[in-house]
Amino acid sequence: MNQDSARERLVEALRRAGQGDASALRDIYETTSAKLFGVCLRILGEPAEAEDVLQEVYMIVWRRAATFDAGRASPVTWLATIARNRSIDRLRAQPAGRWAPMEAAAHVADAAPSAEFAIQDAQGARRLNGCLDELEEPHRKAIRAAFLDGLTYETLARQAEVPLGTMKSWIRRSLLKLRTCMEA
């Protein structure tokens, strides 16, 4: 599907949902639920938890659709942000022993980006990847794992076998570099 028209359709569906049209929410769900379920599942690990959070995500989309502003965010980024935030909220509310769904993450193999529901920002993706490539390998890995798997500083430090303070300074330094690089 042409990406611009997919984006337009999603923006239009969000506008209709914002006016209380439930069939629009169904359209949004049809287009985006596989991607958003992938996001929830990757972070939460357990399918049952991910299904629960996915249900919550679309109820939030339904309530907040009227506040979506196509001038400020792409619809896909907006939806994915809600799915990530709800998943991470759920993860952080769990006791410490369940904070590292790495076993589960390994089960979900990465696939090539789906053309139908990609972030649709080729330029932004090139810039981000170019700037990530300028970071040192362990730092880049930590930032990806934090974003995609919802890992905490503690888990990241354990996995990289470095002290917590080291991981914090790696990530904070890398984030500032990333910002400078992407603003350039």
Binding site: A22, L25, R26, Y29, S33, A34, K35, F37, G38, V39, L41, I43, A50, E51, D52, V53, L54, Q55, E56, M59, I60, W62, A73, V76, T77, A80, T81, R84, N85, I88, D89, R92, A93, Q94, P95, A96, G97, V108, A109, D110, A111, P113, A118, I119, G124, A125, L128, N129, I143, R144, A146, F147, L148, L151, I171, L175, L176, L178, R179, M182
Partner: protein
């Protein structure tokens, strides 16, 4: 509005977007993003910058039941239907059965009703205040809990002495027809605000059960209660 310090706010916004903050800092950052325009813009900038990473996540079709639940919730606002009823899990949660056998019966009845959506409750139902007193098997009240829909959490106050030794005290919420869900570890002193997901603080939370069990330090390793229940109580609407 708080005084913004760009040197601190830029990493904080990025850490929030990456999901690195612990629960209390995360809640504070989310509140700040709602009230502080400069901070919100920094958060949104990070969301935009990092968004292309989402393309790396493999899509996976959710089960059809998820949409069915969403559709039911749309028809009956305030009546969030629990996704799953798994009575079999109760058989594995031995210590639970004694403490909450009566509530299990109630939950089973509610689970039957959940198959067909109940009539829509009044529109204000979602904003009700819910509370529970959590008592030990001997009737002594050990905790008072209040679910505040507006604050997205449950406030738990210990009112009696508990002797947990070196074990952790963990709070669980058992919605009608559902399995015990971990809410969080209790600090054991003073009122404590624990985040609770929307589905749990919805109208369905009324008649659900809150319970505290003894767990290994750090909490139950399995995500289900493993130790004895020291206090429990049914949530009632105020």
């Amino acid at each position: 509005m708080s005084q913004a310090d760009p040197n601190e706010d830029i990493p904080l916004a990025a850490e929030y977007v990456l999901g690195l903050l612990d629960a209390p800092s995360r809640t504070r950052a989310a509140e700040r993003a709602r009230s502080d325009d400069a901070f919100r813009m920094e958060v949104e900038a990070w969301e935009r910058r990092l968004a292309p990473l989402i393309d790396e996540v493999a899509p996976r079709g959710p089960p059809a039941a998820v949409w069915d639940r969403i559709a039911q919730s749309l028809e009956h606002p305030g009546n969030v239907v629990p996704l799953r009823a798994r009575p079999s899990l109760w058989n594995r949660a031995g210590p639970w059965r004694a403490a909450t056998a009566a509530s299990l019966a109630a939950a089973a009845i509610l689970a039957i009703f959940a198959v067909r959506p109940a009539p829509a409750p009044p529109a204000s139902a979602g904003a009700r205040l819910l509370a529970a007193t959590l008592a030990a098997p001997d009737g002594k009240v050990l905790y008072v809990a209040t679910l505040d829909a507006g604050r997205s959490g449950v406030i738990v106050t210990p009112v009696g002495a508990t002797n947990a030794g070196d074990r952790a005290t963990e709070l669980w919420l058992i919605a009608a027809g559902g399995k015990p869900r971990p809410v969080g570890l209790l600090a054991g002193h003073g009122p404590q605000l624990l985040p609770v997901s929307a589905s749990l603080r919805s109208a369905e939370a009324a008649k659900a059960v809150l319970a505290v069990s003894l767990e290994p330090p750090g909490g139950s390793p399995t995500g289900a209660p493993t130790g004895p229940v020291i206090a429990s109580g049914v949530i009632a609407s105020l």
